[in-house]
């Protein structure tokens, strides 16, 4: 593995950070009184991105020894990494500024938040394009990968935000039903995207077919089926669906409404779902890097 666990963690954190930003912006509009969700999303976003960037710096050995060299990262406009460096830098600035305003309890410039939203989406797509443009690795070299990364970024972003929010105030998670519905949709799309990607690439390319069989039945099949599919996708899909179903039932009776409003039922399910989604998001990126079989050139 030329790019290993550290890069997987970086890709995961960048997506998570962008997703948390999007979640908070959505919550700010849709649920003005769900303050916790908004504040948590806005605060964790720049922090997680910062951790991701630190990891990136640690992995870039030559730059780590001579940090001034990182300036050159802004120089090659034909490199996806350079473009991404611009996206991430501006996204970090916007996210950090908005987090600061939130801490200072000041109003946030609407325009700036929209710019932040665009940059968050750009950051999430970038993490997919970074490896997606590599012709040498057919598993990555598909148009589906950037879409999968955006969906997964948003999904982990929701999970991270909800998890921390639930710690702060367990009532809040029952108020943001549409976020949960959204989350469920994303998770189901992810299953669909992963298998479509595998099906298409493995039927057109020998190296990709090798990658896919490493994941489905070879070296990484345990982590793929148990870690990604069961823990990262099926479990959260099942719990989220159940919760939504319960919520619907609760909202049908006055007594139920009261239970929902007081948040007196547990948050264990939320904790499990969101942690599982986060684990799945990391495993997805790790597996894609680990199963990168290059084109066989001999």
């Amino acid at each position: 593995m030329v790019w290993g666990t550290i890069i997987a963690a970086y890709l995961f954190l960048a997506g998570l950070s962008a997703g948390a930003f999007l979640t908070s912006s959505y919550a700010a509009r849709k649920y003005p009184d769900a303050k916790i969700v908004r504040i948590v999303g806005r605060l964790i976003s720049p922090i997680l991105m910062g951790i991701g960037l630190l990891l990136l710096i640690v992995d870039a050995e030559a730059g780590l020894k001579d940090p001034l060299r990182f300036i050159y990262l802004f120089t090659n406009f034909s490199s996806v990494m350079t473009i991404g460096t611009y996206f991430i830098s501006f996204f970090m600035m916007a996210a950090a500024y908005i987090a600061l305003m939130e801490l200072l309890k000041k109003d946030i410039n609407k325009m700036l938040e929209y710019v932040g939203i665009v940059l968050a989406v750009a950051t999430a797509i970038y993490t997919g394009f970074l490896i997606g443009v590599i012709g040498a690795v057919p598993l990555w070299n598909t148009a589906i990968l950037p879409i999968l990364f955006v969906v997964s970024a948003f999904s982990t972003g929701i999970a991270g935000t909800m998890l921390v929010s639930a710690f702060v105030d367990k009532k809040v998670i029952h108020h943001v039903i549409s976020i949960k519905k959204f989350h469920l949709t994303l998770l189901i799309s992810e299953v669909f995207l992963i298998f479509t990607m595998f099906l298409i690439t493995s039927s057109t390319n020998e190296s990709a077919a090798q990658s896919v069989s490493m994941l489905l039945s070879g070296e990484y099949s345990g982590l793929f089926w148990l870690g990604l599919v069961v823990v990262g996708l099926i479990v959260p899909i099942a719990i989220e669906a159940l919760e939504l179903w319960n919520a619907k039932k609760l909202h049908q009776t006055p007594a139920g409404l009261e239970v929902a409003a007081s948040g007196s039922h547990g948050i264990a399910a939320t904790m499990i779902t969101e942690s599982a989604v986060l684990a799945g998001g990391f495993i997805l990126r790790y597996l894609l890097l680990a199963a990168a079989v290059p084109v066989i050139f001999i």
Binding site: L56, A62, N76, M81, I134, A136, V137
Partner: protein, 178 residues
């Protein structure tokens, strides 16, 4: 302006590793690091089988993917078509290693810089041959100007119908006779 390239005749290569050792000496590489890798390939059906030894190093691609992905412009192509790494600009992000179709790059873990075959640019500038070429015990390697139809390398390509390893993966400047 010259455009440098090479022919490697795998029918002559005996797999003695002399080129690799001379390359390591020229580039002061430790034993475990090298810019030339050896691959073996068996073709044909018994009893007509051929076992081929294929030395592979940086192919000095035209439109090299390592050059276009390098975010710092540390990897660049010289006027003579040699792909080089500026060790003072490389951050060691390894994007070029991921992008190279031939697995031709290695990272020096002392400096963190990613390096590879440089066609011995400093020797070539003095009018000499790259170390691997002058060392080869069976004259399996020919180096020279691809743009000059009278150069030894151009003539060899035509005469032996030498082909890049994988023409479908982009234009390379190393031609193989197989």
């Amino acid at each position: 302006m010259a455009r440098y390239g090479m022919v490697i005749d795998t029918r002559k290569c005996v797999g003695c590793y002399a080129c690799r050792v001379s390359c390591q000496m020229q580039n002061e590489l430790p034993v475990e690091e090298s810019y030339i890798k050896f691959y073996e390939k068996e073709t044909g059906v018994f009893p007509n089988v051929k076992n081929e030894i294929i030395p592979v190093q940086c192919q000095h691609c035209e439109d090299a993917p390592c050059v276009s992905v390098c975010p710092t412009k540390a990897t660049y192509t010289t006027k003579e078509g040699i792909v080089l790494v500026d060790a003072d600009k490389c951050i060691g992000c390894k994007y070029c290693m991921v992008a190279c179709h031939y697995g031709a790059r290695t990272q020096d873990h002392n400096t963190g810089v990613v390096e590879k075959c440089r066609f011995c640019a400093e020797l070539v500038a003095e009018g000499k041959q790259p170390a691997c070429v002058s060392t080869c015990i069976s004259n399996a390697r020919i180096f020279g100007d691809l743009d000059d139809p009278n150069s030894e390398v151009s003539k060899a390509i035509v005469k032996m119908n030498a082909q890049p390893l994988r023409p479908d993966l982009g234009k390379a400047k190393i031609y193989y006779v197989r």
